[in-house]
């Protein structure tokens, strides 16, 4: 945090932040997200240790200069595991969001652009999906597919479909009734073509906002499902798995549990803050 503060204090960065009208938390959020993405793509940039190399002789060391976050039961470096864990956790978060938003967009477009029947059917289907609490729907999917990273990703994605479907549908309905669309139709342009041309650009903004916040939620849900034993299994470095692994040590070796939990919290907060910033800028732009 102090690093962020000094970063903000830098005159040029501060000015840039003000110029970009960022929320007060936006810069640290950007830093956290950048680090997480770096960790997911090039973990070796952030650590020299391997997440899987065991060293029983160095087990359960508290944090020190060599092992920033200490070591776990098999002597693996917790910091390295948190860094390498970013990949699986973000994979679940981003993957679920992509599934949810793509499927949701298709359903939303069908509902918004199709006839009354298409709208009624797809919206009732969405209502049905909505009726299941998200985590329970994910568990239902996992009952069918069995545990595993991909299955967790898909189950969270499925559970998030209705939110995106509603958003896209509502935008589609608004644009469809807009004057310029009516005018275009009068001029002989096909309605779907017109609508698509106008809906997509009009929807990308809000969709992006929803997706960025949804990614945060999906990361937490993914960690929760992994914690419950539905996700990737040890020795995979994944934050939820690390939390589950560490919980028997929480009284003797807190660092195994605390750091992955902090990582989840930091990423989720950062993504949420960025989403809000996006939304605020969106509303300002439209004013």
């Amino acid at each position: 945090m102090s690093a962020t503060a000094s970063l903000l204090a830098h005159p040029r960065v501060g000015r840039a932040a003000r110029a970009a009208r960022l929320r007060p938390g936006a810069v640290p959020a950007l830093v956290v997200v950048t680090c997480a993405v770096l960790a997911a793509l090039w973990p070796d940039l952030l650590t020299d240790h391997s997440p899987d190399t065991t060293a029983p002789a160095r087990a359960l060391r508290p944090p020190d200069t060599e092992h920033l976050f200490g070591t776990d039961q098999l002597g693996r470096d917790v910091y390295a595991r948190v860094v390498y864990g970013a990949r699986l956790s973000l994979e679940i978060g981003v993957g679920a969001t992509v599934i949810g938003s793509v499927v949701g967009t298709v359903i939303g477009l069908v509902a918004g652009l199709g006839g009354r029947a298409a709208d009624a059917v797809s919206m009732r289907a969405t209502d049905v999906l909505t009726a299941f609490p998200e985590l329970l729907l994910a568990l239902l999917v996992i009952t069918v597919t069995g545990p595993g990273t991909t299955n967790v990703l898909v189950s969270i994605g499925v559970a998030s479909v209705p939110g995106y479907a509603r958003l896209v549908r509502s935008r589609a309905l608004v644009v469809r009734r807009a004057d310029f669309v009516e005018a275009g139709v009068a001029l002989g342009v096909s309605r779907p073509a017109l609508v698509l041309r106008h809906i997509l650009p009009n929807t990308v903004g809000p969709l992006l906002v929803l997706a960025s916040i949804g990614t945060g939620t999906a990361v937490v849900s993914g960690a929760a499902l992994s914690y419950l034993g539905m996700g990737p299994r040890p020795p995979a470095a994944e934050w939820g798995v690390m939390l589950a692994d560490g919980q028997d040590f929480v009284q003797t070796a807190w660092w195994i549990t605390v750091f992955p939990g902090l990582a989840v919290a930091a990423v989720v907060m950062a993504v949420t803050v960025l989403g809000r910033t996006l939304r605020e800028r969106g509303t300002e732009a439209t004013r």
Partner: protein
């Protein structure tokens, strides 16, 4: 008021349709589970003799065509029969009977707590300076973002085991309910507080508030009596979402705190592929969600007379909190 009665009837019908859809989705999903359901009945690792296999197949009707099984299942559901647990060999309703109370106790205390927390923080910060609001919204962001099971784990370790402040682990009366309920309530409270604060701010700019103020009503009373009532509506529409997130959260909280309840039964059933139990619990929560939304649709017109003319415009987004209230209008 025939139009209102008609509206109620339409909402009820929609609720029934949604529940039927949910039941169908559940049935179809669980029949996509690979393997022979007999294996789920006899348990993992057990290889049943052919005669036992036949016996179980006939007992549960696994040899019937899927559509017949579906019809029977739906028929039994209508009669309130949730089927028989594969793993426990007992009626699902008997398995769940003991588990409803602890989960409800947890969820109700969490919702009460969340409501109180939300109202208190919203009232305390409405119209305040940037610093207070910044701090509070930061705190809200934090409680919404922290994984609740992780918070619960740390609370359990330090507040209960280390400092002996609360007994936990199990359903041992009120004291043991405190930590799980707080853990479950925090993220919900964070969202409710955000929504309430926004709509309170909005309410304070309304003309009627100005009217009340000019009558010399004290500011506290303006907030508590007039603005709050107006601001409550967006919060009430979140009821369905609250029910869903409490039931989902209960799965995690019951696991962390080793409490009995529907969530733990569900987890065990998912692990052993005890599909009748999974179906029953998932359907129960869908029913709870649908009922909550139905209530909202009926209560909101009562709260705000203006809504009586144009009801059913709100639907709660299904997504977790953040999304629910972040959805751009």
């Amino acid at each position: 008021m025939p139009t209102f009665a008609g509206y109620v009837a339409r909402r009820l019908l929609a609720g029934v349709v949604v529940l039927w859809g949910a039941a169908t989705v559940t049935f179809v999903a669980l029949h996509r589970v690979g393997g022979d359901p007999v294996d789920a009945v006899v348990g993992p690792g057990v290889s049943p003799t052919p005669s036992l296999r036949r016996q179980i197949t006939e007992e549960y009707g696994f040899d019937q065509p899927l559509i017949v099984q579906y019809g029977r299942w739906l028929g039994r559901l209508l009669g309130g029969d949730l089927g028989r647990s594969y793993q426990l060999g007992r009626p699902v309703s008997a398995v769940l009977a003991d588990q409803v109370r602890p989960t409800c106790a947890l969820a109700l205390s969490a919702v009460l707590l969340a409501g109180v927390l939300a109202v208190v923080t919203a009232l305390a910060t409405a119209g305040r300076g940037r610093l207070v609001r910044g701090l509070v919204s930061g705190a809200e962001l934090a409680v919404v973002s922290l994984p609740s099971f992780w918070v619960g784990l740390l609370a359990l370790t330090f507040l209960s085991f280390r400092w002996h402040l609360f007994p936990v682990a199990g359903d041992q009366g009120f004291a043991a309910l405190v930590l799980p309920a707080v853990t479950l309530a925090l993220p919900v409270a964070g969202v409710l507080a955000q929504v309430l604060r926004q709509s309170l701010d909005e309410a304070l700019t309304q003309p009627f508030v100005l009217t009340v103020r000019t009558r010399g009503v004290p500011e506290a009373l303006v907030l508590a009596r007039h603005a709050l009532r107006h601001a409550a509506i967006p919060v009430v529409t979140l009821a369905g979402w609250v029910v869903g997130s409490l039931l989902g959260g209960a799965v995690l909280i019951e696991t962390v705190f080793a409490r009995p309840g529907l969530g733990r039964v569900l987890l065990a059933a998912v692990g052993s592929r005890d599909t009748p139990v999974v179906a029953a619990i998932v359907l129960l929560s869908a029913a709870a969600f649908t009922c909550a939304n139905l209530l909202v649709d009926l209560v909101c017109p009562a709260l705000d007379p203006r809504l009586r003319t144009a009801p059913a415009t709100r639907r709660t987004p299904p997504m977790p909190v953040t999304v629910a209230k972040e959805t751009p209008a």
